[in-house]
Subunit: 232 residues, 4 copies
């Protein structure tokens, strides 16, 4: 519908700002009857959470997810699933200086032009922190797809700034702070350290694969997409 809702059959509406009280999402369309608890979602959030190495934001957040709706006696009910993550390290004072400036590459300028005001606290709504609700929603989708179709998703870093990363093995991905599929990440570490010292930043390229995908996904209509009564 807008930049805040993604998907139609499995629709995720993202809400929250980097330094507001909480961030989260509402998933509408998750099929009923799937076992679901916070334990299914937390590992992916832990992998995403800040403060785990010197190469990411030093903000301290536990990113504990709470399922507020859509699950009864440990199973999804087919109704909207609200996932909530409280912000605990809001540190809004730290942004007092930056409140007077626009950071290059951030969306602050667009927000100010578009809405006539701006939330300078960590980028507000455009903060990378807002990927957390999408990671949480993705964990739910992944579980359903794996259970129903055996689908497996994998991701790794392919390039950081100027540094291309060869693909050695998926096995290396969890063993370094860059999610790089290589054993030796010393070049990446040096590159990132030099960037940080220079007060600079860079873009990156990731690789995502899905295997055991069912054929013919991604639109509304399919041979089984219309609800069907079970008793005639």
């Amino acid at each position: 519908m807008s930049g805040n809702t993604f998907g139609t059959l499995f629709a995720v509406t993202n809400f929250g700002e980097s330094h507001g009280p909480a961030i989260g999402c509402v998933i509408d369309g998750c099929p009923p009857g799937m076992e679901l608890s916070e334990a299914d979602i937390q590992p992916d959030l832990d992998r995403r959470k800040p403060g785990t190495s010197r190469h990411v934001t030093q903000r301290q957040e536990d990113d504990k997810v709470e399922i507020l709706s859509g699950v009864y006696e440990g199973k999804t009910t087919g109704t909207p699933i609200c996932l909530l993550i409280r912000n605990t390290d809001q540190r809004s004072k730290d942004y007092s200086e930056i409140g007077q400036k626009f950071r290059p590459g951030h969306a602050d300028y667009s927000y100010l032009q578009k809405y006539g005001l701006r939330d300078p606290r960590g980028g507000g709504r455009s903060s990378a922190r807002l990927t957390a609700p999408m990671v949480a929603a993705g964990a739910v989708a992944k579980k359903w797809l794996h259970r129903q179709h055996g689908t497996v998703f994998r991701g790794c870093m392919q390039q950081v700034g100027e540094v291309a990363i060869p693909f050695e093995s998926w096995d290396h991905v969890p063993n370094n702070p860059f999610f790089a599929p290589v054993a030796d990440v010393s070049e990446l570490e040096a590159y990132m350290d030099s960037l940080r010292k220079a007060g600079d930043s860079c873009g990156a390229r990731v690789r995502v694969t899905a295997s055991h995908m069912p054929t013919g996904w991604a639109s509304r209509c399919s041979t089984s997409s219309m609800p069907r009564s079970r008793t005639r």
Copy 2:
């Protein structure tokens, strides 16, 4: 989405104006594999079409529907179905006088306020003629629901202006110009004739029933609403 699209899984987008070149609709989401031809739709359009009695608009239209897409070798393909009805009796001269006035109970005034302009030709987009594409889309939905679930829809007139109509039998509905479920419509005829002589109009109340409806319709998610591959 807006006042022009109805439904989500079976979404109908209506287009056209009373006196433009054509009216029609696009159905997105009709399941594949159902036999469909113009002959499935035309009877409902014939029942709706103008000029069939002195109590309805005297405009002459055949309302011939043409299926432009979404059907291959006589069967729906699951892709968008465009239904087109050409306007043949455009008579726009007849509206030269009315172009200077607002008709009470018509949407002309709202359109002028909303869009800053107005199509005076028969009410333009707010004409009752724009029910024709919805009748056509309804015929497609009815066929699928009947084939899949045995669902049957019925409708009749329940009240015209001040005149309440008792329910005698569905059998009478096709036998009078008011779709009234009674054998004797002389009171209705007299009432309508007197209205017309007085240059007046009135509202009405209809009754619509659906039987053999599957349980639990009307939202996106159901036990079978997510596409499912047929081969794992």
Copy 3:
């Protein structure tokens, strides 16, 4: 989109169950720059909340709303507004017996047929409690409409079961537990008491009016509906 999201430009997604941890909604599309705090919403929730007379559910809830996002320094930012209401009186034990039965007029049977499972706790998602998030979202919409257009909404009870209620004055509405526009509600009280003694329930009819409405609302496109840059 589905039965859980209402509206397009000002879209409200409702979530939660009667006896889950919380209920709430996400408003996407509220214009930026409007002053908004919990104090704008709480009065409408207080009017709706249970336990205020012997004629409504005896459940005890404060229905305190919390704004989780979309507001910065007391003003809306144009980003999604999440409103949360914690359930405090969950009393799920009280439903142990009813877990074995279907209540007539409740949606339990439909849910079971549709999703293959059922949340017996107070009707789960189909509980009247789920009107609270809509009341909260409505309070936000009302404030914006009043500020922008001077629009005023009023509502009152028009009929309870067999008892029609004459309209005397809007002034009476807040002075009785039925929101009836009459000074004397003794007949309504007697009727409701007799129903309750008989273990029965009834439907009702309400009247809602909006005055100072702008002309031509209710669809996507208007003379000013496309975003416009302020600097060329």
Copy 4:
């Protein structure tokens, strides 16, 4: 909404198959009051149309567009704009042999898996021909954006298969069948001829730019996105 509707405020629903009676689209959300005729759209369709060089499909189509709705006395009315393009060179016999095979890189296999049937006539709905309605809708959007904001769109070929194309000047783009921004396209011609002789095909990369874009586009809500009455 689905793979057939694009956009929210300016929503385009695409319909039709390569060898059905017609292809087209419905634009819902085009602002009222803009001058619009077929002459605004036809040049872009002419640039896209088949049979203009030996490097594209040899199908003969005029791709004459017809505006069926949403325009009155030469101006958009704010209501849905249906654009229709009749298929004249349907040649379905030519596909009799291919009806027995799946072409690599075509969507036939996905369609068969998804919908349980297949339209072998030129790829049916997945034909490149279905870009024509998007080109037509794009012409309408481009006109409005240029009139309102001075926005200018440009596109050119950047790579064909293995052949990278340097950027020399936009001026060259209309002067060669590859829309390449170079004066000398002999290398591209030789590459394409060799591919065709080998019965092979390749992918390509295009470059699209938009200048004079208003700030802060691409979501639903903006300072002016809510309809506003002009008279209070």
